[in-house]
Symmetry: C2
Subunit: 192 residues, 2 copies
């Protein structure tokens, strides 16, 4: 029961933080959306900041599920696996209503003043980049990327360009920037 309340609060946090960002979201809205008394919230989370940081962890559980599904599919060549991860992310954005990526949203909003969030979001990006870099390394070994490719560098570029496309997707509620970016990146990644 207690565990259910905690999960219910985190699930609501995923939806509400993605849409509102951090500062526009009051705890009261989370309580109202979930029918949870204030005392229960503070039983599970020391503060709004602690709650939001745990919501980011929950978001990352879903990101890793996508990475596992896409990068683990060794029936595909490595570059197609990497692309598939972002296609799964795009499908998730569609289900959410094209509000883009929570990491990019909170990273932009909070990293100017809140070092804990800046560090947290950068750590999340670094973990995603590392998994993509392993995939790029495989692509390089398979001859699908030039021999002088730096896999980490190519993974960083991919993630960063995606985050910019996700911003534009959020502004326009439109997936087109996501696909256009993937088409550009994967068509050009293979050239020297």
């Amino acid at each position: 029961m207690a565990q259910n309340t905690r999960e219910t609060l985190l699930d609501a946090g995923l939806t509400l933080l993605l849409r509102h960002g951090y500062n526009d979201l009051g705890i009261q809205a989370v309580l109202k959306a979930t029918g949870t008394p204030r005392g229960s919230f503070y039983h599970f989370f020391a503060s709004k900041e602690a709650f939001a940081l745990e919501v980011v962890d929950q978001y990352m559980v879903e990101v890793h599920q996508g990475l596992d599904a896409a990068l683990g599919d060794t029936s595909l060549p490595p570059l197609e696996r990497a692309r598939h991860f972002f296609e799964l992310s795009r499908d998730k954005y569609r289900r959410d209503g094209y509000f883009g990526c929570m990491l990019g949203g909170l990273g932009q909003e909070l990293s100017g003043t809140n070092p804990a969030f800046a560090r947290k979001i950068e750590e999340c990006f670094a973990v995603i980049v590392q998994r993509l870099a392993d995939c790029m390394q495989e692509a390089k070994e398979a001859g699908d990327l030039p021999a002088d490719t730096d896999p980490q560098h190519m993974a960083d570029l991919l993630l960063n360009c995606w985050e910019g496309a996700a911003l534009r997707c959020r502004l326009r509620r439109d997936p087109a920037p996501l696909d256009e970016m993937l088409d550009f990146y994967f068509a050009r990644a293979q050239s020297a």
Copy 2:
């Protein structure tokens, strides 16, 4: 004198909104930073939202100055002009302390709930893209881009990838993602 107060408030807004974002910034902080009485602020701006939208206009004045300087330098080939605009933007980010791009920051923070800001930021991006697209068109005519290039499409990609790199720059207070993105884009843009 009145004009000076208005400009002083907008200048402070440029610095404070870039760092804090919108919801974390109180009018009181703007008044304190500028030594302006509350009544003066509301003489010039109907609300915090009206103020922030005018700060975005002020930001765009600087963006257009950069575009004029870079794209107007016809001693350079068109693609080098486009790159130079982003190098000037990077130099501006350095002077600001590597807080990235205000358009990306406010766009991420506010576009989930505030249609006026979503529209405003998307309009700003569209204007920048149009100016870059004209430059891409020139590059295409000069044979520096493949004959089947869609200049608008290439300009959108460039801006979007830049915005993602600017997020990472903000998170890490580090310009490296900006240069890496430009190197990748301009090396690959010319291949078919």
